[in-house]
Subunit: 186 residues, 2 copies
DNA sequence: GTCTATACCTAGATAGAC
DNA sequence: GTCTATCTAGGTATAGAC
């Protein structure tokens, strides 16, 4: 694997476990086994690195959602797989979805990066909306009100659940918080 | 007002708008109108400041919840007031509940502070649980499953909704995400 | 493409005069 | 209690040799 990809992989790991502000080029250099000056050859600034990270993650994540749609014909199956995706992204409480990790970043990201992040959120909300709309027809989810409202609520819940689980360093917090969502599957 | 309290007020403002890692003693000094060295006289380290902030906020917030309990006899009224509390804490998308702001802090806080934060989360979850338990008896909230699960879900949802609204710098995101919770009031 | 060396800045924190 | 001055550590980023 080339150095550029190795850097991106390690950086993703660091962002998700410590946050974008929580690691330095020095940390990344140590992890990859090169000197920090060399990183600048691949990603000129940390802002450039942020954009590369979000862009790649968005693509990969949306592919996963497409796979779920292809494999699960029912709304209930899709929602449960979605929850599993966020649960697995936590790696037992030590990690966050990259999207969540960037959402809580304090430093101002470059406009390109925030635009990608916004687009990412919008894509996921859109996908969830289709799931809840499907549920109105196939009846595999309990108590669906408006698909759009349900989608935003579900997204906020999984993101909040990740934050709380990481803050408490306890992955079971995530499960506790999404239990009512899981229970809606028929 | 004494300098110590003024510092705490300004610091709370900064934490909630920029995050605990997002402001420095230099920023705080400028805002209050003294030199940064002087801050150390009141709060020896930034860790000490974090503890003072969380401790005070926890007390104030729990008083608010007690007031809600006293004023609203029904579960629906209590939940709606709770949601208003979190909505108002956002100040139009530029701010977070201090509890949420600290939950997303990257740097390791001292043990005293994380313990306070944990206790805070536990207190709020406990309060919400009593609201949903009440709903099982007074029937003013739709579709209540287990009070404990509902409490954790509601807390994760409001916290996630704040994060998403702040990331998008759009307060209406908060409303969109908690709409299904509001709609459960009968 | 990777290295050493370094520039430049900002952070939290301390010493000691007033 | 507040100040000026300073320390130490760490961050991002660049220059130029190899």
């Amino acid at each position: 694997m080339n150095t550029k990809t190795t850097l991106l992989n390690s950086a993703e790991d660091l962002v998700r476990s410590r946050g974008f502000d929580g690691f330095s080029y020095s940390d990344l250099a140590t992890q990859v086994g090169i000197r920090k000056a060399s990183i600048h050859h691949h990603y000129k600034t940390k802002a450039d690195l942020s954009l590369a990270l979000i862009t790649r993650y968005r693509g990969v994540f949306m592919e996963r959602l497409a796979e779920i749609s292809a494999q699960e014909p029912r709304a209930s199956g899709r929602l449960l797989s979605f929850l599993d995706l966020y649960r697995d992204a936590m790696r037992g409480g030590r990690s966050l979805c990259l999207c969540v990790a960037f959402s809580v970043t304090q430093t101002a990201l470059p406009k390109d990066s925030t635009a990608q992040l916004e687009g990412f959120h919008a894509d996921v909300a859109q996908w969830l909306e289709t799931v809840f709309r499907l549920a109105l027809h196939d009846g595999t989810l309990r108590g669906v009100t408006t698909p759009r409202a349900e989608a935003h609520a579900a997204l906020a819940t999984v993101e909040g659940a990740q934050i709380m689980a990481r803050a408490a360093e306890d992955a079971t917090r995530f499960e506790a918080a999404i239990d009512t969502l899981r229970a809606r599957a028929i």
